[in-house]
């Protein structure tokens, strides 16, 4: 017993090191992949507030460009509105505008924080888009802020389709360049041309069908491959992302309950 105590005392520093490291790795595994605590991330109000102040100051330097973009977006929205009025269909999708207060684009696991949270009806799993195209999916919701996992995240799997013939593929990201993503699962018999438009498939309740994603930049098919390697130029410019919209599908809960019931 005394010997054991002696050994423990002798290696006490190493034991402290081990205990602390285990605690750290426990945190990492809790955090990885998704159910992250909203308090210990940028959804935390104090931290998000700091990011918001920084982007507030930085925002003054790009006011002119942003104004131009906003007015373009307004015009596009008004056009859509008038088109919708003429159809008079039941409204399923609601768009909640939000401002990006913090964003990374050069990591493998990028995240962005937006200034809308549970008080604005944001829920985990809702889609996020801007006027150009798809942005990502809400991962953590705080009261005032939420964290969004963009499509430029190496765990991204977004179901997409070719606008020309509705062929389905999965959009992934290789962690290299925030302007380009990869479309996988497109069989070799499909004819893929540069310039083909990729849109969301509408197969999941997260995004409605037909939100623009990007255009095919290049596609290669090596001898013996059964799938194309397709590089997609994303419509969304993540380096300049300032304003986004959260897509709320009125039927999302019902659709998810239906598919969960199948297991």
């Amino acid at each position: 017993m005394q010997n054991l105590l002696k050994i423990l005392l002798r290696y006490s520093n190493f034991l402290v090191f081990l205990v602390l490291e285990v605690a750290a790795f426990l945190l990492i595994s809790l955090n990885n992949p998704y159910p992250r605590s909203s308090v210990l991330s940028t959804a935390n109000d104090a931290v998000a507030w700091q990011h918001e102040q920084v982007s507030e100051v930085a925002g003054y330097f790009s006011l002119r460009a942003q104004n131009e973009l906003l007015s373009q977006e307004n015009a596009a929205l008004r056009n859509q509105l008038s088109a919708m009025d003429s159809i008079k269909t039941g409204e399923l999708m609601r768009y909640v505008p939000a401002k990006v207060v913090q964003m990374t684009t050069s990591e493998l696991h990028n995240y962005l924080t937006i200034n809308r949270g549970s008080k604005d009806g944001i829920q985990r799993g809702q889609g996020v888009r801007n006027s150009d195209g798809v942005v990502g999916i809400v991962r953590t919701v705080g009261y005032n802020y939420s964290v969004v996992q963009p499509i430029i995240h190496t765990d991204n799997n977004l179901s997409c389709r070719f606008a020309k013939n509705d062929y389905i593929g999965i959009l992934q990201w290789d962690g290299q360049d925030s302007r380009f993503a990869q479309l996988t699962d497109v069989a070799a018999h499909m004819v893929v041309n540069p310039g083909d438009t990729i849109v969301t498939s509408g197969l999941s309740p997260v995004f409605p069908e037909g939100i623009p994603v990007g255009i095919v930049e290049s596609s290669t098919l090596k001898e013996g491959d059964s799938y194309h390697t397709i590089r997609v130029r994303l419509y969304t410019n993540f380096k300049r992302l300032k304003y986004v919209e959260v897509v709320q599908n009125a039927h999302q809960t019902e659709l998810e309950e239906l598919t969960n019931g199948l297991d």
């Binding site: 520093n13 402290v16 990492i28 962690g175 360049d177």
Partner: protein, 164 residues
């Protein structure tokens, strides 16, 4: 050791990291973490285990800002664990470690060795744990080399300016 001065130094360097260096995203592989400077410069007067707990706390604070719960914490604990051994290897005169560790107290050569051993270890841990797979190892190594060089340059540059 003057504790208020030490605390002030931590706050300033953490603010610099969060407000300035975390915003640097010009090149995809450039993520210098200069906040470890405070941890590296602390004198070796506290018990080793207390040093590691300080590392854990600083790492955790950094994690909250970087959305990377546990990653900086693990790297900082390792850094604080290795620190006395690395200093023991480089410096013979243990008396000098009772003061703030900088160019004036241990000399430029020893400081450069000390920083160049520990910073790449810390950065490699941060990037490797962040990637969380062997798939991106090449990218992680490149990121480590580029970011370490910049972090080391910032720390040595600061010392050179202060004690010239």
């Amino acid at each position: 050791m003057d504790w208020t001065k030490q605390l002030g130094r931590y706050i300033i360097v953490m603010l610099l990291q969060v407000l300035l260096f975390n915003q640097l995203q010009l090149v995809g592989v450039c993520h210098p973490y200069i906040y470890v400077m405070c941890l590296l410069m602390m004198p070796i007067t506290l018990p080793h285990s207390v040093d590691m707990v300080i590392g854990a706390v600083i790492g955790l604070i950094m994690d909250i800002f970087c959305n990377s719960l546990g990653i900086h914490m693990a790297a900082c604990i390792t850094l604080m664990f290795l620190r006395p051994y690395v200093l023991g290897l480089i410096i013979n005169d243990k008396e000098r470690l009772n003061e703030q560790i900088n160019q004036q107290t241990i000399g430029l050569g020893a400081l450069l060795k000390y920083v160049a051993i520990l910073i790449p270890i810390h950065h490699l841990m941060v990037f490797a744990l962040g990637a969380w797979s062997w798939h991106h190892m090449g990218f992680v190594l490149l990121e480590t080399v580029v970011s370490s060089v910049i972090s080391i340059a910032v720390i040595i540059g600061y010392n050179a300016l202060k004690y010239r």
